[in-house]
Structure formats: structure tokens, C-alpha cells
């Protein structure tokens, strides 16, 4: 069955793959494991598309100041909960002017949008100053306006540009979960390998500890640990503590998976052969067990990323994760936590779309990687 599938794919294979199947080689057996995985991964279109979207999103995070027309931290009382700017294309791309008009009779003020005298958009114009990659000082931005403010997604409770904050928020939101999972993966692999290879009382104790941690509901546990952080901490310290908090819960699931894999390999013939040839325990673990489990570990870790990203967003939304001077998607969504605000100014919920897109892409990417890595499970 699987051989048939392989034969069918030879037509679609890139040339270098076909070279590997050239007559003088022994055929399918010559294709390396990694290449097989890449080939299987490429087959799942959804996973590939998700991967591309995520790359674009990360590029957006790197070039955040260039992409955002306004300084994300700039507070402006005149633009409190201001509507998204209306775009117009008559006479080149521009935004409609918004004027405050005071009714001469009732003396009540209201806003009038005037699209006749649109404010033109400039590409690569000058705006607030920043340092690209933290090194090159510049003030160029993708789009700017001369007058007024370009607010693609409107403004928040303090008149800050939601679109710019959303782009900047990806820097925290899209890295904190990944870093947390990386730490968790290291912890989980080490503990899981020890548990699965050493066995005996060590294994029992580790498994009991994991069971205990797993019997506390995840989100409340995260919330409790996050609430321990003093509120006057600097943004950077908070960021790093958050990654550690995220990893302290996530490692348990990973450790279980790694333990299972290591245990199933530990009885394999090649491990016994290595043992009888006089290999030390650490050598068996490092050269036989870990490399064999590596692809599986990567797949399981990738599937843990969406949960971690959501956890940061949820905690920040509750006001116990990242706090205001920091910009993350969860912090942005705090404005949306009051129903009356949400009803009047529905655009404060726009950052939620970024969260959903990012999480869905990670989920699909993780599914694709898992299917590519172990197709038989």
C-alpha cells in the first residue's frame, strides 16, 4: 500500500529526489528519512499554507514599527474609541476626513466624515522614529498620512491605534508561547528520558509528580502562578517569568510522551546490542534513544504551542498575565472585556482575529508535522 503510494509520487517528485531513485541506486530505500518527512509534509496543503501564513506573521512582528503608521504607545485623548478610518480611492488612496461639527442650535457636537477632501496616503513616508532590528535608526513607514491619524482598525480606550498595537502585540504573543514550549520541551525530554530509561522508584516518583500537577486544572493553575508575580515588575522580567510559568505546566504532557517513546525503544534489539557491546547508559540515551524520539518530540511540542499562546492571551485578558505598558493581544483585548464598550465600539474585538488566525495556523501546522513524522500512529 505505502509502496504503491511511493511509486505514484515519483512523477511528482522534484529532480533531486528522482536522482536519488536513479537506476544505479537501489531505489526507494535511498531516500533519507528527513526527505520522506518533508515530502509527506508537503502533501498536506493546509499545513503548508499555515506555515507560510505564520512566516508572514513573524516577518510582520520583526518589521512591526515599519508596518505601523502610529506609535503604538501614543496616548491621544482626542481619538478615544475613534472609529476605523474610512478609506477612499477617488483620486488616489486616501482616508476620509473626520470633522467635529457643533450644531448651532443645540450646541451638541457630532462627527461628520468628509470623503470629498480626502487625506492622501503616502507610501514609505516619514512617521515616528524607531530603530529597525534595534540598530538602524529610521522614520520610514509603509503608509503614513500628513494630517490626522490613520486608524485602520480604530482606536482604543486611550486613543491608541489598534492596528499598530496589534502588529506590535504579535511580538509578545507569538513568541511567549513558543519560548514557553521550548523550555517545556527541554524539561520534558530530560525528565521523560530519565523516567523511561532508569525506571524503578525514580520513574514512580516522577510519574506521581506529573499526575499531581495534571490533576490541577490548567488555566486556574496558570492564573495562580501568574498572580504571584508582583504587579510593579518590569515588562521584560514579566515576560520571562511568564514563559517559565507556561512551561512549568506544559512539560508534564511532553514528559509522558517522551517516556512512552523511550520505554518502547529501550527494549529494542539495537539497544540490547549496544548494551552487550559495552555502551554506557549515557551513550545509549544520547546516540540511540534521543535521536530516535526527536521527531516525535518536535511533533508533540508543536501541538502544545497553540495552548500556550492561548494561555498567555487569556491570562493577559484577565489582567494577571502581561500588563498594560506591555503590548500583547491579550492586553489589547482587555478593552473588550466590558460588554457596553464592546457594544458601542465593536472594533476593539479586531485583535481577536489575529489570535484565532495564529492559533489555527499553529494547530494545522502541528497536525501536518505530526502526520509527516509518524504516519502510522
Amino acid at each position: 500500500m505505502s509502496q504503491l503510494a511511493e511509486l505514484e509520487t515519483t512523477d511528482l517528485m522534484p529532480d533531486d529526489d528522482r536522482a536519488a531513485l536513479a537506476p544505479e541506486s537501489s531505489g526507494i530505500g535511498e531516500v533519507s528519512q528527513t526527505r520522506l518527512m518533508i515530502r509527506r509534509f508537503r502533501k498536506s496543503k493546509l499545513a503548508v499554507i499555515s506555515g507560510i501564513i505564520l512566516i508572514i506573521m513573524y516577518l510582520g512582528a520583526i518589521f512591526a514599527p515599519f508596518l505601523s503608521p502610529n506609535d503604538p504607545a501614543q496616548v491621544d485623548a482626542n481619538y478615544k474609541f475613534s472609529k476605523p478610518s474610512q478609506l477612499t480611492f477617488s483620486g488616489g488612496p486616501g482616508i476620509c476626513q473626520v470633522k467635529q461639527v457643533i450644531d448651532p442650535v443645540t450646541i451638541s457636537s457630532h462627527y461628520v466624515t468628509d470623503c470629498k477632501n480626502a487625506i492622501p496616503l503616502h507610501f514609505f513616508g516619514r512617521g515616528f522614529e524607531y530603530k529597525l532590528f534595534g540598530l538602524i535608526p529610521t522614520d520610514r513607514h509603509l503608509v503614513t498620512v500628513d494630517k490626522g491619524k490613520l486608524l485602520l482598525f480604530g482606536a482604543d480606550s486611550q486613543g491608541r491605534d489598534i492596528a499598530s498595537r496589534m502588529v506590535f502585540g504579535s511580538r509578545v504573543s507569538m513568541t511567549i508561547g513558543v519560548l514557553g514550549v521550548i523550555i517545556a520541551t527541554i524539561l520534558g525530554s530530560v525528565i521523560g528520558t530519565v523516567s523511561g530509561y532508569v525506571r524503578g522508584p525514580t520513574d514512580t516518583i516522577i510519574q506521581r509528580v506529573i499526575e499531581i500537577i495534571m490533576s490541577i486544572p490548567q488555566l486556574p493553575l496558570w492564573a495562580t502562578m501568574a498572580a504571584v508575580m508582583p504587579p510593579n515588575m518590569s515588562v521584560t522580567n514579566r515576560y520571562f517569568l511568564m514563559t517559565i510559568i507556561l512551561s512549568l505546566v506544559t512539560w508534564t504532557g511532553l514528559a509522558r510522551q517522551v517516556r512512552g517513546k523511550v520505554m518502547s525503544y529501550a527494549n529494542a534489539d539495537y539497544v540490547n546490542a549496544a548494551k552487550s557491546a559495552g555502551s554506557s547508559g549515557s551513550r545509549i540515551v544520547l546516540t540511540h534513544l534521543v535521536p530516535n524520539a526527536a521527531s516525535h518530540i518536535v511533533a508533540v511540542s508543536m501541538l502544545a504551542v497553540p495552548t500556550a499562546i492561548l494561555a498567555e492571551t487569556a491570562l493577559s485578558f484577565l489582567g494577571i498575565g502581561m500588563l498594560d505598558p506591555a503590548i500583547s493581544w491579550g492586553v489589547l483585548l482587555q478593552d473588550a472585556s466590558k460588554i457596553d464598550v464592546l457594544q458601542q465600539y465593536p472594533w476593539v474585538l479586531i485583535p481577536a482575529l489575529a489570535v484565532i488566525l495564529c492559533v489555527t495556523c499553529f494547530q494545522l501546522l502541528g497536525d501536518g508535522v505530526r502526520d509527516a513524522v509518524d504516519p502510522y500512529s
Binding site: 490533576s215 490548567q218 495562580t224
Partner: protein
């Protein structure tokens, strides 16, 4: 079976004790205590709080005891039902928890029932009608259901309910029933406030369980005993429901604990968005206001819920699959 249950029960109790130590330890790490908050609150009201008074209060609350002593005081009180007084809510903790716990249990277990009730038939349909248009539609809905975080869904549903359906959302009762005595109308009002959060909590798990059920049943349907049953001339409906579904349910029972954990987490955050008085909501409030001991109590209680859920799932699994008992 009895030995099995007793052993599991003993494990569960040990787990709860360990969890209470962890919960208390984490919360003790926090700088400042409810007392410092209370003192600053009193000062803000203009009350004179002298150093001697602070010392007396510290003595009374045992602020400077080593944490193991504090833990013992707290946990022995907990075991006897004396949970002290909440600084935040200014009422005894046992009173605070009673109704909240009931609501949390109702929401989490209600959501699990909803999830199973929908996931099993839909999963069966999906697996028996693989690669048809309804199956594709179900698959897409599942992906969306898993991907949207509960609190965003809750926000979206609330806005939609208010904007397009003119429903009153948030809280447990309408204002007119807030302090009214219990009556059918009041109960009806509560139900009308609860179904929406319940649905939101259940969505993610329903989607996930449907996926699990579909995959399981599909595996089972490929097995030879199903083929044998069909070859014998057993009607298809009977083959699916009696022969295949029963074996496909097994992994669903195994994941009961995971599902319940997700639902308890979901319950906590959804009830904050909907402003429902549940344990999870109180936990976050007490955490923010540094109401230390109450927070530890609430975290432990939420874990007790999960431990009980796991216990039920273990016993149920041993009951439907005797092999589990043997290997244990």
C-alpha cells in the same frame, strides 16, 4: 472490583493532599498578603492603624509563622469546614463557596453531558458517512470549534445576543429577580442566563470529542469482527450501534479526565466574561486582590472536582473494560 475502587480512592485522597500543599505553596510565594491590602484599605478610609495594631493583627492572623504552620492551620480548618473569612467578599468562605461550587459543578458536568450527547451521534454519523458533503461540513465546524478560544467565543456570543437578539446577558439573574425568593419564574430566569455560557463552554470539547469519536469508530469499523457480523447478516444499524460504537466509546471514557480539566478551565474564564458567580470566577478575583487563603482553597476545590472526575473515569473504564483492572 472493590479492592480496585479502594486503591483508586486512596490515590485520589493522596493526590488532593499533595495538590493542597502545592496550591498553598504557590500562593505563599506572593509578596504582600491580604492583611497589607486590608490595612491600606482601612487607612484609605481614614482609620488610624498604629504599629501595635498591625502587630496584633499579624499575631491574630499568624502572618509571621513559618509556612508549614500556616499550611497546617489552613488545611486542618479546611478539613473541618472552617475556612475562615474572606477579606474580599467579607463573608465566611464556606458560605462564599457553597453556591459557587454548585454552579461550577453544574456548568462543568452539564457541559460534559452536552458535549457527549452531541459528539457521539455526530461522530457516528461522520464516520459512517465519510467523505460526503455533511461530513466535510462537520469537519470544518470541528476545526473552527477547536480553534476559537472560549473567552473570545463568549465575547462574540454576548455581543451578538445583545445586538441582534436583544437578550440580557451576564450575571445569574435579571435585576428584578436578584433578591427575590425562589420561584419557578426565578428558576426559569436563571436557566435563561445559563444556557448561553454552558453552550460556549461545551463548544470546544464537543468539537474535539466528535473528532475523537469519528476516528475511533472508523478504526473499529475496519476490524474483522465487524466484517464477520455483517457477513452473518446482522442488520447494519445493529452492527454499528451494538458492535462497533461500544468499542469506540472506550477511548472517550479514557479521555474523560482531560475533557473535564479543559471544561473546568473553560468554565473559569467563561464565567468571568459572563459575570457568573462560580468558583473559577471567585478564584481570579481573590488572586487579584491577594485574598491568599481563599484563593488556595478555591484552587484546591477545583482540583478536587478534577480528581473526582478522574476517579469516576477510572472506575467506569474498569467497569466497561475488565482488562484495566488486571493490568493495574
Amino acid at each position: 472490583m472493590l479492592v480496585f475502587i479502594i486503591r483508586r480512592l486512596a490515590y485520589a485522597i493522596l493526590t488532593v493532599v499533595a495538590v493542597s500543599v502545592i496550591a498553598f505553596f504557590i500562593i505563599e510565594l506572593a509578596p504582600g498578603s491580604a492583611l497589607t491590602e486590608e490595612i491600606s484599605r482601612l487607612r484609605a478610609q481614614g482609620a488610624e492603624v498604629s504599629g501595635a495594631q498591625i502587630q496584633a493583627m499579624e499575631q491574630q492572623y499568624g502572618i509571621n509563622d513559618p509556612w508549614i504552620v500556616k499550611y497546617w492551620k489552613w488545611v486542618s480548618g479546611l478539613a473541618h469546614g472552617h475556612m475562615g473569612q474572606s477579606f474580599l467578599y467579607h463573608e465566611p468562605v464556606s458560605q462564599l463557596i457553597g453556591s459557587r461550587l454548585a454552579l461550577s459543578v453544574a456548568l462543568s458536568f452539564g457541559a460534559i453531558i452536552v458535549a457527549w450527547a452531541i459528539a457521539i451521534p455526530v461522530g457516528v454519523f461522520s464516520a459512517t458517512h465519510r467523505y460526503t458533503i455533511p461530513d466535510y461540513i462537520i469537519t470544518v465546524i470541528q476545526f473552527v470549534g477547536v480553534a476559537i478560544p472560549e473567552f473570545l467565543l463568549a465575547l462574540g456570543v454576548m455581543v451578538a445576543a445583545v445586538k441582534w437578539f436583544g437578550l440580557q446577558v451576564g450575571g445569574l439573574f435579571d435585576t428584578q429577580y436578584l433578591n427575590a425568593p425562589w420561584s419557578m419564574a426565578r428558576f426559569g430566569d436563571m436557566v435563561s442566563h445559563l444556557w448561553m455560557p454552558l453552550a460556549v463552554i461545551a463548544v470546544g470539547s464537543t468539537a474535539w470529542l466528535t473528532r475523537v469519536m469519528r476516528a475511533n469508530l472508523f478504526d473499529v469499523l475496519g476490524q474483522q469482527y465487524v466484517q464477520t457480523a455483517r457477513a452473518k447478516g446482522v442488520p447494519e444499524r445493529r452492527v454499528i450501534w451494538k458492535h462497533a460504537v461500544r468499542n469506540a466509546l472506550h477511548p472517550l471514557v479514557m479521555t474523560f479526565g482531560t475533557t473535564l480539566g479543559a471544561l473546568i478551565s473553560g468554565e473559569a474564564i467563561v464565567s468571568i466574561v459572563f459575570a457568573l458567580p462560580t468558583t473559577g470566577q471567585a478564584l481570579v478575583q481573590t488572586l487579584i486582590s491577594k485574598d491568599t487563603y481563599v484563593a488556595a482553597t478555591l484552587l484546591t476545590l477545583l482540583s478536587v472536582l478534577l480528581v473526582i472526575g478522574n476517579l469516576i473515569s477510572d472506575i467506569a473504564l474498569a467497569w466497561i473494560d475488565p482488562r484495566v483492572k488486571v493490568t493495574d
